[in-house]
Amino acid sequence: MAGSNGNSSNWAMERRVEGLVNKHMADMALETLQQRLSAVSQEMNHLSAEISRREDTKRVEALPRRSDPHFIVGSLPESYTDELVDEKKKLMPNTATSSSSSSSSAETASQRKIISLLLEIKEEQQRQWAVLKDLQAMIQGHMCEEDVETLDIELPLQTMEQLDETERYLENDGAQKRMVSHLSRMGGATVDDAVRRLMQAVLSFSVGSELNWVGRGQKRSFRNTRLQGVLFRALKKTPVGREATHHQFADVVKKWLRFAPFRQGGSGRRQHYKPPVEFMCHHTDAEGCLGGIRTSRALCPNITESPGSSTQQIRQNANMAADASVKPCQMDRSGSFFKLIDTFSTEISELKQEMVQTAREPDTKLLQGLEGEVSGLFLQSSVCAGAAGVRDSGYDSLRRRMSVLDRVTHTHPVWLLLPLSDEEAKRILQPQPPGTFLVRRSSKLQKKVISLRMDTDSFPATVRDFPVTESQYTFSLEGSGISFADLFRLVAFCCISRDVLPFTLKLPEAISAAKTTSDLEEVAKLGIGFWETNLCEKKTSSVTDESTVQQRVKQTGHRTSLGDDLPPVPRTRSPSELECSQSNGALCFINPLFLQTHRYEPASTETVTLAVSGQNCALSPSSSSSTQGKSQSRPQSIIRRNREHNINNDVNTEKRLSRSPPPRPPPPRTIPRRPASTVKQKSMPETGVSWIKMPQEKTGFLGRLSSSFSSFSPSSSPPKKISSPIPMPSCRGKRAPSIPESEGQLCHLALEDQIIEQAVSQSLAKQALRNAATESRNPTEEDSPVGRERLSDISISTSSSDSLDYTHGFTLPAAASPSRADSSLEEEEEEEEDDGVGVESDQELSMEPPFKPKKHHSAGTFVLPRALKGHLRKVSGVFNSLMTPEKRAVKRIVEQSQNKSTYFGCLVQDYMSFMQENCSCHESGLELLQTVRQFMTQMKSYLLQSSELNPPIESLIPEDQIDQVLEKAMHKCILKPLKPVVETALHGFQVSSGVWQQLKENLALAKTKQPQEMGVDGAMPPDPVAIEKIRHKFHNMSKMYSPEKKVSLLLRVCKLIYTIMEDNSGRMYGADDFLPMLTYVLAQCDMPELDTEIQYMMELLDPSLLHGEGGYYLTSAYGAMSLIKNFQEEQAARVLSSETRNTLHQWHRRRTAQRSTPSVDDFQNYLRVALQEPDSGCTAKTLQVRPYATTEEVCQLCAEKFKVHDPEAHALFLLTEESTQQLAPDTHPQKIKAELHSRPQIQPFYFVYRRIQNLGLTASADEFNGNSEPI
């Protein structure tokens, strides 16, 4: 029997393979169903004799046995019996023939015969169905008398108007009751199933997609409808739903609503999507069918083994299946139909489980073991509780909550030891196990380095330094292409992926095993002292762990390949892939630019799905069994297992690579029996260059997988549980758009087993096509359809596991397409909603935590492109993580400036209140601005030198950017609050000094002048419209508080002027033409307030910017304004008055002095030091001294440069007019210089390198003070 069945399936498969090339998917699905039916019928043949024997008693027994009575059958036993008898009679001959033919040796002939017989059976069943339908009509007639008649609402609701109607209708209590009793007959094998049925019975998908639970965004709230209450009551009336909580109910409803748009098929979001490439699918489809056939084959023995109890059900199943295959199913009927199938499959799967369990067990254990290790190592825990192990959820979930990044960030005082010297680093790391690391600043390289304890066996040096390259706002390891926003992310990444390192960094056990943040803080408090404490001693144990892991990894790897001849997934080690394969939220930072550029990588998601399918096949026996499993988690369990496997695989591969330097190339991928993989192989090269980027989205996908995966683990439903096969609306819309709904459902049924595989293979095929398409397309072109398709792909492959939370999965693809902005917004709402709901209930809370950190970190990564595209989102959290490190640093400083408990905060706040009260005590506006500038400068250097910033700014911002960032922060925390005060004060000074009046008069005069009179020669002046535009820009400018932003607006004005000048002549204009034009424009604008604006900018702008373009045009504006201010005099004398000249010269002096003040970072990193020898006078040299160099270092430099033979007898002195001061070794000469320059009266001073007088005496600086006698 089994053999013939196999043959027939082969034959069917062949047929299918060719048929698929040109036939529609739905046909295929139907055939698959037929396959199943035939298997069932054959079983029935087997059992028919027995059935007929027991028939009379059976009927009585079997019917009440059904846990939730099926009204079609239950209420009309008489006709049913008749029909059964009928059926039996018809079946009997078939049975005889089929069994005889199956025993014949002529395979093909027998196969054909069988098929024809099966077809006959089918016809029989169809006929029976016709009868049944009539009966049913009668039954329903009865029903209607009871409630349907009075239910004057047409369900499911097709429009929102109907929903409103229903709501009104339900205002009546009686109506509600009727509705409840009507709906309570919907049935369902589990609560989830029952709820879904209810939802489906009541709401069409189009209505469903207009609703969400809370009513966020544009959607309406379902929670607030009466209908919702009715549904819940109905649920409570169902046999399965008696115990259901409202939360459970709400949960399912939420999910149903969330996915409603995707199920909507042709009319929803996925409207534009049509499966274009069915013909590409034949391989995989055939494969899918094979899987299905295998399953049905596998069913046979089980059924034979349990003949008694299941016979009736099987018969019913057969009936129902046949019925479904031909007749449009209405909601209720399909419900019971599916239920039957469920029960049917339950029986089988129970047996199956017994068979598979033994085989699977070690596997699972291993996986879990591995996962355990992985979680220890990677500080993530995506372990599924699917296998026997009961997890300690308390601590584990806490532990899970902390990502590597968190750990790294919290404990930076331990490993981030910037001033550490080579020797100290070596000393600390020497006793540590390999992989231990420190981050410090190498004085040799003048760079930050990761000092890594090497494996002494394979590397000669115990400690090696890996320099960190800092570019504009990013940190990366030298030689690596991956950049990170800050040092923490870099380190966290290196803890997980070795990238260019010989192996991954290893956090000390005390850190990696810490369970709470306070633990970490404890550790962090120790700072460098940590390395001396016992805390870090523990580490040795983890070394042994490591080897165990490796062992396990090997085993698992071995196991995997045994599993179904599936070798580990091959990986080219693209660095970011490593990151992604972690599927952990810890490391979601990818350079935004990177992400932005490669947003639309077509291959990614499909490839991932594929990997899943590969795994699926690897686990084929077990997964197919679990497909027939018994609980709600059926689809989950498959996916989960796949996921588990997949993740593990990734980890395996990764680990093998990372653990064993140098990396071995992974074995080539050969998956026999899986055409899917063949397609993948084909497609990989097609994607060409871009596939390297693929893993990014993979991160998302895998991450999501694992996160939803881990989010399920606490609930830990044993994997072998049933679920009612959920109708697959998404698939319906896709595969059989033209087929009526019932047929679509039929498809689902048929595809039940294979749905995932097929979805996968389909998307695969699509991908192949797409790849071909993309190749010919312009690669830079934004490919929104791809994004869309991918969206649907995901929804297909995932909606089979309906209850999984894939919300996050959709966010990215949805975002990929600008035209879908609204839908992605909705998704985001849903996401939010999830959070909100999560807090509502304990159950969800317990499930959320492992999920949350991931989400938290990933948000930035995945939402980024959207934001970059200008789709601004309201989700503030998203923005939070969108912040550049620069912004974060600025934010932190600003926060600190408002916190009076810090010294910095005190200083700033005190200054603020002082300025606000005593603004007018300054002599002039200039002086006021200068003190502000000076204060900002001082605060900057304070922040740089003090350790108040935590974490140190050096870890967040590349060194060459620090000054800018601080400057920005200063603007924000000082200038922003002070701006109004300063402005008023400046204006006050102008008015009181008469400058305001004079300026106004002169402006009025200058405004009357023609361009020529202003010195404009040839170039076209701007017309009044343009002048108005410029005025507007100036207005905007005056609203800014940041001098830099003001300047950038000024630059825009200049650009505009230039454009006008050049557009009308076509030649380049230099300052000869521009300055007069600017003067003219300023006069035309007639804005006397510009004078103070310019003053504000000039005095407060970061001095380092004064040399650039901004500085140039600011200077020009200032000059033009000065000319206007003195316009009358100029007219009179044609030259600036000597007074003006003087002020300008003074200004020049002051600004030049000022300029060197603040920015010690200025390109003049020079220090002029004189060597004073008693006999030979002074030799001065200009040395390059970095701003942060200490006196000690300068002394060394001096000794070297001046070729001093006894450096210990020499020291650096600061000579001023009155005093000589020996500088302490830890002072910073450049700082001192800057400080001296910032004094109002600059006294001459010199740095002198000379012999310490009276060597015997310990001459203090004070004593030298008096001894100012120079040599």
Partner: protein, 194 residues
């Protein structure tokens, strides 16, 4: 390679071709389509020099007499000043001398001065003999070169020689080897770092 920003100030009478020289210098090597700057009065160009990169920030000034008083704002902080005159206009050479004088008096101390006699292509109507200019340049230890912005003659060289005059950073000490006596009077060196 370290990038050093060098501010270069362009001085000279109006119409001698200051902007033309800069445009020639900057644009010969840049795509015309890429115009990151606002206008031709401020241009930048990076050139390699030894093991450094010199980024010239070129500040153009208005040559008209009425803007003369603004010049200090432009040349302050300059590493170099290019004073341009027109070889066909004696007047412009006189203005140049005034500029040199002003720079010596008020300009940054170690400013590298380069004298460029522009419009070399109009040699037949030359008013300023090369010899005079060269002698003058030598007397003030300035770079001297005759250029033609129109024909792109010596423009590159002009800036190259400026580059060479800028003390290299990489070699930590600028060995001026000048000796001075520390006295109570303010020394010139005290102002140089401003």
């Amino acid at each position: 390679m370290a990038i050093r920003e060098l501010k270069v100030c362009l001085l000279g009478d109006t119409g001698v071709g200051k902007s033309s020289i800069v445009c020639r210098f900057v644009q010969d090597h840049f795509d015309h389509n890429i115009s990151p700057t606002i206008g031709a009065s401020f241009l930048t160009k990076t050139v390699p020099c030894g093991n450094e990169l010199h980024k010239f920030l070129i500040w153009d000034t208005a040559g008209q007499e009425r803007f003369h008083s603004l010049a200090p704002m432009y040349y302050r902080g300059s590493a170099a000043a290019v004073i341009v005159y027109d070889i066909t206009k004696q007047d412009s050479f006189q203005t140049l001398k005034k500029w040199v004088k002003e720079l010596k008096e008020h300009g940054p101390e170690d400013i590298v001065v380069a004298i460029a006699g522009n419009k070399n292509d109009l040699g037949d109507i030359r008013e300023v003999p090369t010899k005079d200019a060269k002698e003058f340049a030598e007397s003030i230890a300035a770079i001297f070169i005759e250029t033609s912005a129109r024909n792109a003659v010596n423009v590159e060289e002009l800036f190259q020689s400026i580059s060479r005059q800028i003390p290299p950073l990489e070699n930590t000490d600028v060995d001026s080897n000048e000796s001075f006596k520390i006295t109570r009077q303010p020394l010139p060196s005290s102002r140089r770092c401003c």
